[in-house]
């Protein structure tokens, strides 16, 4: 168990480290990189000495543009691990950290709740599809689900806005809560938050429960044909015992693995959905900063999105041994129960989520 945990923690740190390195590379080393761009811009404006320019650049990126590269790199990595992402270019005086800190909770709430809702719906629908493939519900649902899992999420968001937000003015299409409420633990505020989150969440769930249902259907179908299920039935065990203990539990295993993978896709999808619903989370900030060329904020959002994904993956890794105790035993790692090709096929479709 300790070895398993240590491995997971190490991987999480390595991943974050790689992403920070990528972002340093992009800010500093890429041809026409943002730091040079900023220096050139300040030079063109004139009236400032080279020293002042360097100070400005340092304030924004947290790295002195002069000096050896390895030193810049160390400073950059050190800053980020201390939580210092530099200053936002467009909002002078505001640190990237404070902007991100105000955006993160919204994304986590939005993504977390939507993920759980669509996961549960997917499990139920997928099980029904596999258990009663001939029923009317299954026939209709199979069509709906495979259609939905092929439709890009941003298009669903646009259609939802068109149908619900605008034409009939039923739901708000921007912000996370109404201006009339006071943020805090009070009823009007919470109500307003729910009201504003409803459409974006609906968009998430509509897009992603299809992929979950298909994955669960594949998983249950595979388990249904397994020898131990037949053996259990032959032993005369009750239907309920067989479905819950033998089929349900084993069919869940690949789903939990998928859960870890899809967290990343969900955060990716949050970029579109938050942008269209003007929901002030990380994805919305990311696109805003991209469009206004606020590179320090952009890299901060990107790193934070990655860290959120890494942390959520880690949480799933913590849950995994509870669901499948085999995993912590040496020689029985997760790779051994990689989903069958059919199940693996679902993951590109889950990209839409």
């Amino acid at each position: 168990m300790v070895g398993y945990l240590a491995r997971r923690i190490l991987m999480a740190f390595v991943t974050i480290f790689v992403v920070v390195t990528i972002s340093f590379y992009m800010v500093r080393l890429m041809p026409g990189n943002p730091m040079q761009f900023l220096e050139a811009q300040l030079e063109q404006q004139g009236g400032v000495s080279p020293d002042q320019i360097r100070q400005q650049v340092q304030a924004i990126y947290g790295v002195m543009p002069s000096g050896p590269l390895w030193q810049q790199y160390l400073t950059y990595v050190g800053n980020i691990f201390r939580g210092d992402f530099g200053n936002s270019m467009l909002n002078p005086g505001q640190s990237v950290t404070s902007i991100i800190a105000s955006a993160l909770p919204w994304t986590v709430i939005l993504v977390g709740v939507s993920l759980i809702i669509s996961f549960v719906i997917g499990l139920v629908v997928g099980t029904i599809l596999a258990a009663y493939p001939e029923s009317l519900f299954s026939r209709i649902m199979t069509g709906v689900v495979s259609f939905l899992s092929a439709v890009p999420n941003y298009l669903i968001a646009i259609i939802l806005i068109y149908l619900l937000g605008d034409l009939h003015h039923v739901f708000p299409i921007s912000g996370a809560y109404s201006n009339n409420t006071v943020p805090g633990f009070n009823l009007p505020f919470i109500g307003s938050v729910l009201y504003h989150a409803l459409l974006p969440m609906a968009a998430y769930v509509i897009v992603s429960f299809g992929a979950w249902s298909l994955a669960m259907k594949g998983s249950v179908t595979t388990v249904l044909g397994a020898d131990y299920v037949r053996a259990a039935e032959a032993r005369g065990l009750g239907g309920r015992r067989v479905t819950q203990t033998y089929i349900g539990r084993n069919a869940m295993l690949p789903m939990v693995t998928n859960l870890a993978i899809s967290v990343g896709y969900m955060f990716g999808g949050s970029v579109f959905i938050e942008t269209y619903f003007a929901y002030p989370g990380l994805g919305y900030r990311l696109i805003n900063s991209v469009n206004s060329r606020d590179y320090s904020l952009m890299m901060g959002c990107f790193i934070l999105i990655t860290i959120s994904v890494v942390v959520s993956n880690f949480v799933v890794d913590l849950i995994y041994p509870v669901v499948d105790p085999r995993i912590v035993k040496p020689g029985a790692r997760r790779t051994k129960i990689t989903p069958k090709p059919e199940a693996a096929l679902q993951t590109p479709e889950a990209m839409n989520a």
């Binding site: 991987m11 390595v14 991943t15 790689v18 992403v19 990528i22 972002s23 992009m26 890429m30 026409g32 990189n33 943002p34 495979s146 259609f147 899992s149 092929a150 439709v151 890009p152 941003y154 298009l155 646009i158 806005i161 068109y162 605008d166 993978i261 990343g264 896709y265 955060f267 990716g268 999808g269 970029v271 579109f272 942008t275 994805g283 990311l286 696109i287 991209v290 469009n291 060329r293 590179y295 952009m298 890299m299 959002c301 990107f302 999105i305 990655t306 994904v309 890494v310 993956n313 790779t335 990689t338 090709p341 059919e342 693996a344 096929l345 993951t347 590109p348 479709e349 990209m351 839409n352």
Partner: protein, 283 residues
């Protein structure tokens, strides 16, 4: 020949897959020959904006007075090219890394898989957005490379799992006894066995690339120049398509085109799945 016959039999039996295949074929033809029939000018004649659908403009016109249908046709090619090129890159990298890693095994395999895991964890879309916003390219090849930056990892993992189970099989032992070079082992012995799986994933990689690519244009992260579906949606949104019903068709036409292609690709890939997977064929 036997193969094609089999394929045709399955397509005929599975109507949705047949329809999907035909739609994919039509899109491909439009991408190749479309520009012979359709025209989009940068400076269209005035007074033609937001015309209603008519015999002359089947889907009406946009805010500049361009024919929406012509724009759809012209926009097919860039989307399809980037989608296919990106899928080729994804498949190539994924299969080579997966087969090599699975076949070699041991420490190298462990190392490669840890690297793959990192790419699986990094959220692909935000990374693509960040890279695209800094590079700001209009070159389709560069765009395709950016789009495949993380997508290969999932495939590499799946292919590796198959290579792992294949490497202990008799024909690999036989090949090893003959002292065949590793290139032959991977390219000639292992590759044909994962071929079907790769074929299906190719189609899915195309849908993934189209999804991300159109997304970049819709968000306005990739440079808005020329004509493609994403740019059409972007411009329509910026012209306030959601708030006036005038430009509705201009917004929904490219959306329909994308959805139709994506659904067709997925349905068509299911037919391939049946073709190569005997277990599904029986059902």
């Amino acid at each position: 020949m036997e193969f094609l016959k089999d394929f045709w039999r399955i397509l005929r039996a599975d109507k949705t897959a047949l329809v999907g295949g035909i739609i994919v074929l039509i899109y491909t033809l439009v991408a190749i020959f479309g520009h012979l029939f359709a025209h989009v000018s940068d400076l269209p004649a005035g007074g033609q904006a937001y015309l209603k659908p008519s015999g002359q403009h089947l889907l009406g016109t946009d805010f500049l007075g361009n024919d929406t249908l012509s724009e759809l046709v012209i926009g097919t090619r860039p989307v399809m090219i980037v989608g296919v090129v990106s899928a080729v890159i994804v498949i190539f990298v994924g299969v080579v890394v997966g087969l090599f890693s699975g076949y070699v095994g041991g420490f190298v395999d462990g190392l490669i898989m840890r690297i793959t895991d990192i790419f699986l964890t990094i959220p692909g879309l935000p990374l693509i957005i960040v890279i695209a916003s800094i590079i700001h390219t209009t070159n389709p090849l560069v765009l395709a490379i950016i789009l495949s930056v993380t997508a290969w990892a999932g495939l590499a993992r799946a292919v590796r799992a198959q290579a792992l189970s294949l490497r202990t099989s008799d024909f690999i032992d036989a090949a090893k006894v003959q002292n065949l070079p590793i290139g032959n082992l991977i390219g000639k012995q292992l590759l044909p066995n994962v071929g079907p799986f790769v074929a299906i994933n190719f189609l899915l990689a195309v849908t993934g690339a189209i999804y991300a690519q159109v997304g970049l244009f819709v968000l306005g992260v990739a440079p808005v120049s020329g004509t493609n579906w994403g740019i059409m949606i972007n411009l329509a949104m910026n012209q306030g398509a959601l708030y006036t019903s005038k430009s509705m068709l201009y917004l929904f036409a490219p959306m329909g085109a994308i959805v139709l292609l994506q659904v067709a690709l997925v349905y068509f890939s299911r037919a391939l799945d049946k073709l190569f997977n005997p277990r599904l064929r029986v059902q």
